[in-house]
Amino acid sequence: MIQVVFLAQLREQLGSNGIQVDSNSAKSIGELKQYLISHHPEWAEFLENKKLLIALNHEYARGDLPLKSGDEVAFFPPVTGG
């Protein structure tokens, strides 16, 4: 399974802290996004936001990285700490 995490404003927009996705359904971050949107069409406008950041196993993911079972993928808006 792949653990998907939604944070901050995105969590509120989607109404979900995250979900688990079978690793056979998403072999890459791009496929995962498509999987999420196909199962939750109402999430499309938020997940397709170009400003959204993505992390794979607690590291920023740049580009369409491959996924495997046990991975944690987080989607979140631009950061505003400090």
Binding site: E59, Y60, V79, T80, G81, G82
Partner: protein, 150 residues
């Protein structure tokens, strides 16, 4: 702990942080620290408090990485980063960045670098509590520009 980070709900005491930064050290001729606080006016909204969220695991990791980069770029003797999360109110302290070095240029520059990268890289999100309701803070172009100069 010459180099350490903390993400915590508790407040921090600047005097204690300073004392720890220079404890048992005879070389640190320069100490620079920054404290970020909850201010009342933000982008012309009247703010009464903030709710600060983070991503446990990743936030600490990113702070450690930013600290490592600073250590590679400047001659630093000690660094302390503390960032609070949870519910904060007007005038509360949010963040502490303290840097010591033999010379002030290194300490000043590293402290600015750490804050600029913390603001644009570390996974923290602020939600403001205002009279008009709660709203998530948008990323700030000025902060992105500040990061680009490094």
């Amino acid at each position: 702990m010459p180099f350490s980070i903390a993400v915590q709900t508790n407040d921090f005491n600047v005097g204690d942080e300073y004392a720890q930064l220079v404890e048992n050290d005879k070389d640190a001729g320069a100490v620079v620290f920054f404290v970020g606080r909850v201010r009342e006016m933000n982008q012309s909204r009247l703010v009464s408090g903030l709710s600060l969220e983070y991503y446990p695991g990743m936030t600490e990791r990113v702070l450690d990485q930013i600290l490592d980069v600073a250590r590679q770029r400047w001659d630093l003797i000690s660094v302390r980063i503390v960032h609070r999360v949870g519910q904060l109110y007007l005038s509360d302290q949010i963040v502490f960045v303290g840097v010591t070095s033999q010379h002030r240029e290194h300490a000043f520059q590293a402290a600015e670098f750490l804050m600029d990268f913390l603001k644009t890289q570390a996974p923290f999100w602020k939600k403001e509590i205002t009279a008009q309701g709660e709203m998530w803070v948008d990323e700030n172009q000025k902060d992105k520009d500040a990061r680009e100069r490094w």
